[in-house]
Symmetry: C3
Subunit: 440 residues, 3 copies
Amino acid sequence: MELKVALDTMWVLVTAMLVFFMNLGFAMVEAGFARMKNCVNILSKNFIVFAVSSLGFLALGWGLMFGDGNAFVGLKGLFFAGGLDNSPATGLAYQGVYSAISWTGVPLWAKFFFQLVFCGTAATIVSGVVAERIKYKSFIFFTFIMTMFIYPVIGHWIWGGGWLAQKGMFDFAGSTVVHSVGGWAALSGVLILGPRFGKYHNGNINPIPGHNLSLATLGTFVLWFGWFGFNPGSTMAADPLAISHIAVTTNTAAAAAVMSSTIISWMLLGKPDLGMTLNGCLAGLVAITAPCAFVSVGSSILIGLIAGILVVLAVIGFDRIRIDDPVGALSVHLVNGIFGTLCIGIFAQDKITGVATGNGLLFGGGTKLLLAQFTGVVSTAAYTFIVSLLTWAVLKATLGIRVSLQEEIEGLDIGEHGNSAYPEFLGRKPAYSFLGTKNG
Amino acid sequence: MELKVALDTMWVLVTAMLVFFMNLGFAMVEAGFARMKNCVNILSKNFIVFAVSSLGFLALGWGLMFGDGNAFVGLKGLFFAGGLDNSPATGLAYQGVYSAISWTGVPLWAKFFFQLVFCGTAATIVSGVVAERIKYKSFIFFTFIMTMFIYPVIGHWIWGGGWLAQKGMFDFAGSTVVHSVGGWAALSGVLILGPRFGKYHNGNINPIPGHNLSLATLGTFVLWFGWFGFNPGSTMAADPLAISHIAVTTNTAAAAAVMSSTIISWMLLGKPDLGMTLNGCLAGLVAITAPCAFVSVGSSILIGLIAGILVVLAVIGFDRIRIDDPVGALSVHLVNGIFGTLCIGIFAQDKITGVATGNGLLFGGGTKLLLAQFTGVVSTAAYTFIVSLLTWAVLKATLGIRVSLQEEIEGLDIGEHGNSAYPEFLGRKPAYSFLGTKNG
Amino acid sequence: MELKVALDTMWVLVTAMLVFFMNLGFAMVEAGFARMKNCVNILSKNFIVFAVSSLGFLALGWGLMFGDGNAFVGLKGLFFAGGLDNSPATGLAYQGVYSAISWTGVPLWAKFFFQLVFCGTAATIVSGVVAERIKYKSFIFFTFIMTMFIYPVIGHWIWGGGWLAQKGMFDFAGSTVVHSVGGWAALSGVLILGPRFGKYHNGNINPIPGHNLSLATLGTFVLWFGWFGFNPGSTMAADPLAISHIAVTTNTAAAAAVMSSTIISWMLLGKPDLGMTLNGCLAGLVAITAPCAFVSVGSSILIGLIAGILVVLAVIGFDRIRIDDPVGALSVHLVNGIFGTLCIGIFAQDKITGVATGNGLLFGGGTKLLLAQFTGVVSTAAYTFIVSLLTWAVLKATLGIRVSLQEEIEGLDIGEHGNSAYPEFLGRKPAYSFLGTKNG
C-alpha cells in the first residue's frame, strides 16, 4: 500500500513537471509567432504568468476549486490549501475538506502541485491572444483574477464535485476546464482590446508574420512533449492500462491533426504552411484532451483529423470577422476545446478504460452524454466570458489595458520594459505601407 | 506483481517520452547546421516526420516488426496493432500474436509507444542528410515507406525474433536497428540526390556554415538528455542495476567522445570546432547505444574516445569523396552505428548486467560474437540500402525528389512553403563567389 | 523490498536526468546574456563543462567526496568509483567504502550519476561569471581541478560525513555545496581576470546588454524545470510526503522571487526588467535549495521574496564595486547560496518532513542551528576561495587565462574557435563610443 502511494506520487509529480514545462512551450510559440519588437514583452508575460498563478492558486484558487462547499463553489479550507486533510488517505478513510479530490491516493501537496500547473496553463493561454498591445501591468492583474476567481469556479463545477459533474458531464484532462476557459477569457479580452494597429486596414486583412519560426517550432515540440504529462498524468495514479492507452490516443490525435492541417492548408493556401502545421498539432492535442481516456485509438485518429481541419478554418474565420489573434490561440484552445469536449458525447465507449461515462452517439449511447457535454460547454462559456469581460472592463477603466498607439508602433519592448530582445541583430523596419507617406 | 507492472509501465512511458523529445533535438541540430533560407523547410520536415511515423508505424510497421511470423517478417496482427494480445502477461502466461516482445510485462500500448519513438528516430535521421535540396512531398512519402516497410523489417530480424536474433547478434538499444538503418536510408538518398549546389565546385570543397549554432547546441543537449530515455529505457523494465549501469555507460561514452572529438579537431583544424564537439557527443551516444548494457564503464570510456575520433575523420572523409551531408549525420549515425554494433563483439562481458551475450574479443570470447555482429551490420546494410535506393529511384521518376536549381539557390523556404523563418532579421546575401560574375 | 529499490532508483535516475538537463538551461541563459561575438565560446564552454565534469568526478571526485576517510576528505575507493560496495544494501547491511551515502537504497551507479550532475552544476556556474574574456583551454583545466579537488572536498565536509555534517550543519540540496562553491570559485576567477574591456571606463559603468533574451528566457524555464529534479530528487528516495512538500516549497519560492525581483526592479529602474525577473527566479530557486525540505510553504514565500530583492541589489552592488559578472551569476548563486544556507538556521522546523535539524531562530530553536550554518558558509568560503585563487593564479602563470585585448574586442568566437554563431545574420558593430575616435 505504501509503495502504491509512492508510485502514484512519483507519477503525479513527474507528469506535473512536464505540464509545468509547457510554460516554456507557450512562451516560445507565442514569441515566435509575434514580432521582434514585442518579444521581450511576450517573454515577460509568459514568464511571470506562472509565478502569478502559483501565488493566486495557492492563496485562494485551490480552496474555491476543491474545498467542500456547494454545487457552485468550494467553501472550506479556502486559503493557502490550509484546510484539514489526511491525504494520501482515500475513500472512506479520507478525512478532510477537500473530498472532491480524495479519490487519488497521493499527498495533499502533490495534488496541489498537479492542479496548479493546469491552472497555470489556462492562464497562459490568454497571453498569446492579447499579445502585442496589452499593458503588462493589466495582464498581471487579470492573471490574479483568472487564477483566483475564474478558473477555480469552472474547475469546481467539473472536477470539484460541482453541478456539471453531478449532471454527468465529463472532461478527462481539461479541454473545457483548461483550454476553453483560457479561450473564453482571451476572447473577452480581445473584444475589449480590439485588433492590433494595422491588422485590418481599409478593409484589408494584413498578415503580420511572426519573427522566429524556429522558436515557434521548438515551442510546439515542447508542448507536444508536455502533453504526455497533461493527459496521461490526469489519471493521478500510475494505472498501467489507462496511462498507456492515453499516451497513444494523445499522440495519435496529434499526428493525425498534423497531417490534416498540413494537407488542408496546402490545398487552401497553395503551400504547406508551417504555422498551420504547428497549430494543427496543438489543435489535435487540445481536442483529444477531454476524451483521451474514453475513446479508442481508432477514434483518436478521426478526432485528430477533424481538429486539424477545424483549426485552419477557424484561423481564417476569425480573421474574416476581424478578431485579431496573433498566435491562433482561439482557434486552437477555444474552438478545439469545445470540439474535444463534445467528442466525448460522440466517441466515448464505456469499455475503454473502465470509466462509466456512458457511450457516445456513435457507439449506441444516444444523445444523453452529448447533451451533458453541451451543457458544460455553454455554461462554461457563460460564466467565463461574463466574468472575464467584467474584469477586463474594470481594468480598462482603471489601469487601462492597451498601450498607446505610439508605443504599439514602436514596440512594447521599449515602452513597457526599456529593453530589446536582440539588441545586436539588425532588423527590417516594419513597413506600414497602407499608411501612405506617414511612415518612412 | 501488479505494482511491478505499474512501475515498469511508468518507466517505459517516461523514457519513451524522453525519446519522443529527441525529435526536438534533431530539429534544432539540423536547423542550426543548415542555412537560414532553408530553415522553415527543415523545421517542417523534422516536425511532420514524427506524425508520419506515428501513423505509418501504427498502420503496419508494428505488425511487421513484432507480429508472429517467419525469420524475416511478422505476419500476424499486422494492422493497427490490432492482433490478439493479453499484455502485460509475460512468458508462458502470454497469449497473443506479438510473442517476440512478450518478455516485458507492460500493456500493449506502452510497448507500442516505446517502439514507435524508436521508429521515429530512425526516420528523422534521414532528414538531415538530404536537407537543403529535397522536395518536401517526396520526403513525406519516403518516411511512410521507411516506417512501414524498411525499419520494421530490420527490426523484426533483430528485435522481433528474426534470423539475426537467432544467430546471436545483439543490439541493445539500436546502434544498428535505429541509427545505421537511418544512415543507410539517408546514404542511398544522397547518392541519388547529389550534393547541394555550390558545395563542390571546380574541384574545391566549399564549407557551408550553419546559420545558428545556439540552436545546434540546444539540440545536442536535448539529444543527450533524450538518450537517457533511449538507452536505459531499452530495458523496458525498471531493473535497478541495469538502468543505473546503462545511464552511466551512456553518459561516460558521450563525455569521452566530446573530449576526443574536440581535441582531434583542435589538432587537425587548428581550433576547437563547436560543430565537431557537438557531433562528437552524438557519435559517442550512437556508439554506446548497442553495447551500453553489456560493457563496463571503463570500456565505455574507450568506446567514446574512439567514436569521437571516428566522427571527425568521417566528416572530413565524406567530403573528400563528394558525399554532401549538411549536418554530419552519416558520420554520426551510420559510421558510429556500425562501430557501436561491432563494439559488442569487442568489449562485451557476460557479467555486466547478466545478459548472456557471450564475451567479446578483448574479454576472452574470441571472434564468435564479433562475427555475429558483423553479419548483422552487413545484412542490415544490404536490405536497407537496396530497398531505400529503389524507393528513392521510384520517387525520383514520379514526384521528383530534388527542387529546381533556382529554388535551391533562393532557398526552399519560399519555394516549398512560401514562408521565411526570420522575416524581420536582415541577412547576408549568400555569396556564390565561385560563380564569377553570374551572381550579384 | 525489491520493488522499493526499483522505485527509488527510478526516482533518483529521473530526477538526475532533469538536473543534467539544467546544463542546457545554463548554456542558454549565459549565451543569451552575453554578446553575439562570444556566443560560440560560451556555448562551447557550457557544453564541454559537463563532459569534463563526468570524467573528473568519475576519476577522482566521487572517491574524495564519498569514500570513507577522515573528517576532511575521503581516502578509500578513490579512483573511478571502484571501491567495494554492496549497494543497494543500506544501514547495517551495507558493506563497502562509501558509507556516507549508504543511507539511500539504490545501486552504486545511480548514486554516482545523481551526485555527478550536482558536481557538473557547480562547475557550470563558473562559466558565466568569467565569460567573454577567459581562454577556452584554461577554463577546461580549471574545470578538471574544480571537479576533482575543490567541489568534492566541500562535498565531503557536508554530504560525505565530514566535519561540518558532524557539527550539525545542514544543506539539503546544495545551496552551499553546489551554488556557493560555484560562486566562490567564480569570484576568485573574476578577481584575477578583471572586468571585460569597456565595462568600467572613465568611472562609468557601461551596461553591456545580452544578445538574445529569447534564449535567456528559455534557459531560465529549463532551469526552473530542472530544479524539480534538483530539490525533490535530493531525497534520493521516492518518499511521497517529502517529495511533494519539496516540489511545492521549491516552486513557491521561485514564484515569490519572480514577483519581488520584478517589483523591486520596476521601482528602482523605472521599468520591469526581464533580466532581473529571470535572475530573480533563479535566486529564489538557489535560496530554497538548502532549506526546501525543512521549511513550511509559508516560509518558502518569505524566502523567495527576500531572495528576489537580494539578487537585484547584489547585481547593482557588484557593479558598484567593479566586479564584472556578465550574467549575474554571483548575485544568483553566491549571494543567494549563502542566504539560503542561513535560512535553515532561521526558518527550519523539525516537524516538516521529520528530519531532526532542530528548529531555526524564528521557530524557537535559538541561534544554535544558525551558528552551525554560518560555520558552514565561512569555512566553505575559505577553502573554495583560496584553492580556486591558487588554481587560477597557476593557470595565469602558465597557460594564461585571458585572451588578448584584440581578440576580446573582435570576439572570442573567431579567436578561440574560428567560428561564428550566426554567420548569416547581420549584426550591429559594437560601439565603443567611450574610446573616442579609435573605433569606427
